[in-house]
């Protein structure tokens, strides 16, 4: 196992946290759940430590942690609300939750995910919560694509990006500045707590904030639109969101005027990430990645729909 000072220190700290500092040695063993430039996550027994992205500020993280601490029926609550500074990185501690099995995405809890999002979107946001970071992350993915290549498959992706309104590119504020959003919904953001078999909760508050709630539905919407997610799964997700009175789409009728722009943005983000990854690994795009790039290509000939047609 390759290691670096942050990972080594985080492994020690999570062990101390898991055992309340009482034991010097144990046989629990530690598992690295993630070790990326933007997050290092280590588990020890029933405790998880997360080192947040280097550019995370206490001022932004504090209201996000406070939100999770106060909504235990929707978000996994942290173990304490004060981050620890470790090698210049903010570290938070969380209870361990059981994730969706990546080898068995058919078992994805679409209804639970949609219901949790509907409840989140209907919860008043606490004052001082920063904007949801979805559009900024999409812009970041496109910036990385531009740095890597401006040729070939990058062209339809960049063209699709340029058809989007400024708010969806993170270049202008979102119109909605009050709705509480997760900001980065995917199947890795759901855990059962307490594990195993507990109720599903949303995790990862790093992108949580106020903004356009349709962004949280837009990844499944994009997968469906790209022909990757079967319509049954999309219908289960959308139906459960509507059944729980989620405000991001009208209660009946066509949801696409509300979903179109965010789903385009997330399709572009997914395509941009895929192309950069393929370049870094010196490999061709696979069928799934090509389907996403092809969707970007089709966007170039159909302008985005406007979402002003219904009251929120």
């Amino acid at each position: 196992m390759t290691t670096h000072p942050l990972l080594a220190e985080l492994t020690l700290r999570v062990r101390t946290e898991a055992h309340s500092g009482k034991e010097k040695a144990c046989a629990c063993g530690a598992a690295i759940l993630a070790d990326r430039p933007d997050a290092t996550v280590v588990r020890h027994a029933d405790t998880v430590a997360k080192a947040h992205a280097p550019d995370t500020t206490p001022a932004d993280l504090a209201p996000r942690l406070a939100t999770a601490a106060r909504l235990p029926g929707i978000l996994l609550p942290p173990l304490g609300e004060t981050p620890v500074d470790l090698h210049g990185r903010l570290v938070t501690f969380w209870p361990y939750g059981e994730a969706v099995d990546p080898e068995n995405p058919e078992a994805a809890p679409w209804e639970a995910a949609a219901t949790l999002l509907a409840h989140l979107h209907r919860t008043p946001a606490r004052p001082g919560l920063p904007p949801m970071r979805g559009p900024v992350k999409a812009a970041h993915a496109v910036a990385r694509l531009l740095a890597a290549t401006r040729e070939g498959y990058a062209l339809p992706v960049l063209r699709a990006w340029l058809t989007l309104p400024a708010w969806a590119r993170g270049e202008a504020p979102m119109v909605d500045t009050t709705t509480l959003c997760h900001g980065d919904l995917h199947l890795g953001q759901l855990v059962r707590h307490p594990a195993p078999g507990g109720p599903w909760r949303l995790i990862d508050v790093d992108d949580l904030g106020v903004g356009e709630p349709a962004w949280d539905l837009a990844r499944p919407a994009a997968w469906y639109a790209c022909g990757l997610l079967p319509p049954e799964d999309w219908s289960r997700f959308l139906g459960a969101y509507r059944a729980a009175d989620g405000p991001a789409v009208p209660a009946g009728g066509d949801p696409w005027p509300a979903l179109d722009v965010p789903a385009r943005a997330l399709t572009v983000q997914t395509a941009a990430r895929a192309i950069v990854k393929a370049i870094e690994a010196d490999r061709a795009l696979d069928d799934v990645e090509l389907a996403v790039v092809e969707a970007c290509d089709r966007m170039g000939s159909t302008p985005p729909q406007l979402a002003n047609g219904f009251a929120k």
């Binding site: 080898e103 058919e106 997968w223 639109a225 022909g227 139906g239 696409w256 997914t270 966007m299 159909t302």
Partner: protein, 103 residues
């Protein structure tokens, strides 16, 4: 039955002897074959207005849930996956599994 558009339950109503199903969610109406013509005939009898000729045998309700114009080609009313379409069920492979779990 379930609404093919929003999947809310549909309730059956009798309008002048014609059975129609209306969705409790989006209020959309499903008409069986011939029912639109039956309603049109009734409208002509009651209102005395012109009888609208029935449309050709086009579906009166989309068969698949809606999708954006830039969606994959199989959304154009066609059958999803299952019979060898380019973006059919075989995409539920490792590549898509991975995509489901990443930012």
């Amino acid at each position: 039955m379930q609404c093919p558009k929003c999947h809310a339950p549909m309730h059956t109503y009798n309008r002048n002897g014609v059975q129609i199903e209306q969705c409790s969610g989006c209020r959309g109406i499903f008409l069986d074959y011939g029912e639109l013509e039956a309603l049109t005939r009734l409208e002509g009898q009651y209102g005395g207005g012109p009888v609208v000729p029935p449309p050709p045998a086009a579906p009166q309700y989309p068969a698949a849930p809606g999708a954006p114009a830039w969606g994959a080609p199989q959304h154009g009313g066609g059958h999803y996956g299952g019979h060898g379409g380019h973006h059919g069920g075989h995409h539920r492979n490792r590549g898509f599994g991975h995509m489901l779990f990443s930012s």
